[in-house]
């Protein structure tokens, strides 16, 4: 992964990281590295997530009670802090997803392309 390649990746929009984290956690508890990896993979390497930026976001979500965290062991037997979605977080995810879809549809219309797919 050269510098050139990194520059072409999309920077995350303000506030979207929270949504992506919540979305990732819907498949079950995950640690920070796993979440970063998952976001990159599912976006087919399109999104650039600086791993360091993930942690303040995780802390913020934890403070709001949308996710909870506890130390556990990873699949390859390493200690890691696992995050899981709370009931409150699940509701928040639904709300945020709806909002995001409406927003991207609206922007899509303005830019004159076909409606963004959800």
């Amino acid at each position: 992964m050269s510098t050139q390649e990194e520059k072409e990746r999309l920077e995350l929009l303000q506030g979207t990281l929270d949504l992506l984290i919540l979305r990732t956690l819907i498949f079950g508890p995950q640690h920070g590295q796993g979440i970063a990896r998952a976001i990159q993979q599912t976006s087919q390497q399109e999104l650039l997530v600086e791993h360091g930026a993930l942690y303040p976001a995780l802390g913020r979500l934890e403070d709001r009670g949308w996710i909870s965290a506890k130390w556990g062991t990873s699949s390859n037997n390493r200690k890691a802090r696992f995050y899981s979605l709370t009931a409150k977080g699940r509701k928040q995810l639904v709300r945020e997803t709806t909002k995001w879809k409406r927003l991207s549809r609206a922007i899509g219309r303005i830019l004159g392309t076909e409606t963004a797919e959800g």
Partner: protein, 871 residues
């Protein structure tokens, strides 16, 4: 909440776990150990920054920073104690002044009466008139005819001799209408209030309600006092109730002792004016508006009733335009006090602003002194925000300390003012005890001023280029154009010069007033105030008693002369009547030759008062009702009515009721009202037997010790009538009260002038210190190149002196203009007095020298070799 906070170690462990997992994954993909490590770190970004951000997000961080800033600020302030002291004292004075004025404003104008729903209570005032007194029949008509008030109540002041069986003393109270307490919606603390069913015409309701304070102090809070009978002016009254604590009448500066029904006027005041429509004696009318009625509507309603009354009683009624104002002190004291307090608040605010401008430049000077330190901190990675926070913390620490000292001072002063009775014979006082309003105001003022002057050096810090400063050692910007700070300082010096000028003018005026011809001699004279109607004397029995009192005084050893006068000259009380030349037949006010002060005096008064008789004779006891009407007049009276004193003697003039009166003597002019600045006024003196008065002052002249004299007077009068309340004080004491207003004005101006001078000192000091430290290097080089002391001083302080000169000149000019206004308050305040001009110039010079002393010393003691080494 804090318990849930994660520790930094936990966060670090998580980051480490992340890096390990990522490395493992990359190694699985075939990267070498070191390569994987680098890639993992690159993907993560700045680990230290993440940790810092985590740390700063926690709440602890904020407190930790604050605590650190506070400690650092305290250390920095301790390092320069003189700066800190000057800053704190400046602020203390400015905030203290503001707090005191605010407390007075709050007590007199802002604070509502302590009764249920005070905002619906309104006083009736007359547009364009100083007082709003009404006659009793008018009150009854307004009460019964209006459609706007739920209740309309009336009240008037009274002073009575109150005898509980032991010690008769004078007490102050309100004569009130029966619906007084109902209108206020007050409930009695004990017993009951007045009922409509109590009243069956004049003097039919011998009931008295005590205030809580009087009940506590005179009846030892004894519940069995209810039902007891006391003597008011020798008439029996039954105590029926005690008003709730804290309520002492609707006028807060006049705390009363009791309340009596207004229909008992004859027993209380000694005369019955309940049916006299032409005498406006009822001091205050106030009512509670019906819901939904606005004050304007109610005033229109009252105006309409006034027009109707005018039609029915054209001789007694004048046209009145009503205005409703909230019940309280302000409505009674009127616009003058409001304007005075408002003006004072404005001045105090200006002082605070000047102080802030001042401290702003002091802080800017300090920031310049510390520019190297700050540049170093910026270069080492401190953010500008952090630096600013540090500076503001320092400013606020200083402002809070200044505020605390100022508040302490003002609380002391306020307690003193609250306990103070400017007029010993009246119960007037100003209840300005500080409450939470005052504390809050002081706190807000301190914070606001801290932010204000703390913000001055902000631009300086933001603009700073750390590398430039470290390279060159001083701020690059040394342009010579006029800066905002210079302008600020010049304006401030001008303002201070205005204050100094006005205080000089005031002090000079006071000095002159002390040497003014008063027409009487207050030294070595004792005053005895008595009101014979309090002891039950009638118009017919009073004169004989007065003569006995004068006789008794004369028997006291050491008494040189004794006289009696109805109204004391130079007191807050006066009586003026229209007089006419003998030729005038039509005695309407527009034909009056003069409006003269009238005094009813006994034989011997002029000698006792120390008034010099210029021509003719004074009165004897033979100038009584059967004798021809005579008068002694002053020079001005003689000039006004007869052209000259010589023409006056033996000639006649007419009183307002047409009585021909012969002038038998001429006395020197004097001052009559409590306004020492008054112009020449006409005055006439009438023999007390021809113009009787029962409420009088005995003037007893003696050079003996006042306390012994007072005791002797008291025992003699007790011997004549043990039931007569008396009030004894020296004439000088009485004058202190009467001259309260001009002295107060002089004192406030003096204090403001002093504060102005102090602010100038600190302001110029800041500016001079700033310019010296800014140009240290330049000055050092000058000294190294052999500059003389004078040249160094000129380079360092020339600008400060120029500003001082310009500011002072502008301030002096403005001050002279402003002093024309002072002339109305302060006696003979003439600003174009060489003494004042010289005084101001000298004062500002001293201020300048004081302020530049330390910076000049610093400039001269610069050691070039030391300076070079520092680089």
């Amino acid at each position: 909440m804090f318990g849930r906070r994660r520790k930094l170690e936990d966060f670090s462990a998580e980051v480490q776990a992340h890096l390990n997992l990522e490395m493992e994954r990359l190694e699985e993909q075939g990267l070498g150990h070191e390569e994987a490590r680098t890639a993992a770190h690159r993907a993560f970004g700045n680990v230290t920054q993440a940790r810092e951000r985590f740390y700063e997000c926690s709440h602890w961080m904020w407190f930790e920073n604050l605590w650190g800033d506070l400690r650092y600020a305290a250390r920095m302030l301790r390092k320069s104690p003189s700066f800190t002291l000057v800053a704190i004292l400046t602020l203390a004075a400015a905030i203290g002044a503001n707090t005191v004025v605010f407390a007075a404003l709050n007590a007199l104008i802002l604070r509502p009466l302590d009764v249920p729903q005070p905002q619906r209570l309104y006083d009736l005032t007359h547009v364009g008139q100083a007082t709003a007194s009404e006659s009793y029949p008018n009150y009854v008509d307004y009460r019964d005819l209006n459609r706007s008030f739920e209740n309309l109540a009336a009240a008037d002041f009274c002073e009575v001799g109150l005898d509980t069986g032991k010690n008769p003393s004078s007490a102050w109270g309100y004569e009130v209408s029966r619906n007084y307490f109902g209108t206020l919606r007050l409930r009695p603390y004990l017993g009951r209030f007045f009922h409509a069913s109590d009243e069956h015409g004049p003097d039919s309701a011998p009931y008295v309600v005590l205030t809580y304070a009087y009940w506590k102090s005179h009846f030892q809070a004894d519940r069995s006092a209810i039902g007891r009978t006391v003597q008011l002016n020798e008439h029996p009254f039954t105590i029926i109730g005690v008003a709730p604590p804290g309520f002492q009448g609707t006028l807060q500066i006049f705390p009363a002792d009791f309340f009596v029904p207004i229909i008992d006027q004859e027993q209380i005041d000694g005369e019955n004016l309940l049916n006299a429509r032409a005498s406006d004696w009822v001091f205050e009318l106030f009512g509670r508006l019906k819901p939904g009625i606005s004050p304007t509507e109610a005033a229109a309603d009252l105006n309409l009733i006034n027009r109707q009354l005018q039609k029915i009683y054209p001789k007694d009624e004048a046209e009145i335009t009503f205005r409703l104002v909230h019940v309280g002190v302000a409505s009674v004291l009127g616009g003058a006090v409001k304007a005075f307090l408002g003006g004072l608040m404005l001045l105090a605010g200006l002082i605070l602003l000047a102080a802030c401008a001042n401290l702003g430049s002091l802080f800017a000077a300090r920031a310049a002194d510390r520019s190297r330190e700050m540049a170093m901190r910026l270069a080492l990675g401190s953010t500008r925000r952090r630096l600013l926070r540090q500076l503001l913390t320092e400013a606020i620490l200083v402002s809070l300390a200044g505020g605390a000292v100022g508040l302490w001072g003002s609380v002391v002063l306020l307690h003193w003012i609250s306990a103070w009775h400017p007029f010993p014979q009246f119960p007037l006082n100003v209840p300005v005890n500080p409450g939470w309003h005052v504390y809050t105001a002081a706190l807000l003022l301190s914070l606001a001023s801290g932010l204000l002057f703390g913000a001055v050096p902000v631009r300086q810090v933001l603009r700073k280029n750390p590398y430039g400063i470290i390279r060159s050692g001083s701020p690059i910007n040394t342009s010579r154009r006029i800066t905002v700070l210079d302008l600020l300082l010049a304006v401030q010096i001008a303002l201070c010069a205005v204050l100094v000028t006005s205080s000089f003018v005031a002090v000079r005026g006071l000095e002159r007033s002390l040497n003014a011809r008063l027409g009487v001699e207050p030294r070595n004279a004792m005053l005895v105030e008595t009101d014979l109607k309090m002891a039950g004397y009638s118009r017919d029995t009073a004169p004989a008693m007065q003569r006995r009192m004068i006789g008794a005084m004369k028997t006291i050893l050491g008494v040189a002369s004794v006289g009696l006068v109805s109204i004391l000259p130079l007191s807050v009380d006066w009586d003026r009547t229209a007089v006419f030349t003998n030729a005038k037949a039509n005695l309407s006010p527009s034909n009056a030759a003069a409006i003269a002060f009238q005094y009813d005096v006994s034989p011997g008064y002029f000698r006792a008062a120390g008034a010099a008789l210029l021509e003719g004779r004074t009165f004897t006891w033979r100038d009584d009702r059967r004798a021809a009407r005579v008068a002694v007049v002053n020079e001005e009276f003689a000039r006004k009515l007869f052209g000259s004193p010589a023409n006056a003697l033996g000639n006649y003039f007419k009183m307002w009721n047409g009585t021909r009166t012969k002038v038998i003597g001429i006395v020197e002019d004097g001052k009559y009202s409590a306004d020492l600045g008054e112009r020449r006024q006409s005055a006439m003196f009438l023999p007390i037997l021809q113009s009787p008065a029962r409420d009088t002052w005995l003037v007893v002249r003696s050079s003996d010790d006042p306390q012994q004299l007072a005791a002797a007077i008291r025992s003699k009068l007790r011997g004549l009538d043990p039931g007569l309340p008396i009030f004894i004080q020296t004439w000088n004491e009485e004058m202190d009260g009467a001259l309260f207003a001009p002295r107060m004005a002089t004192a406030s101006l003096g204090i403001l002038g002093l504060m102005g001078a102090m602010l100038s000192v600190t302001g110029i000091f800041g500016m001079a210190a700033y310019s010296v430290s800014k140009r240290k290097r330049e000055l050092g080089i000058r000294i190294a190149l052999g500059a003389q002391r004078r040249e160094v001083l000129r380079a360092a302080l020339g600008r400060a002196f120029k500003l001082l000169a310009f500011g002072s000149a502008a301030g002096l000019a403005l001050g002279i203009l402003a002093s024309r206004v002072l002339a109305s308050i302060v006696y003979q305040a003439t600003p174009d007095d060489p003494f004042v001009l010289l005084g101001v110039v000298l004062a500002m010079l001293v201020v300048g020298l004081l302020a530049t002393w330390i910076p000049a010393h610093r400039a001269l003691s610069i050691d070039p070799s030391m300076l070079m080494r520092e680089e």
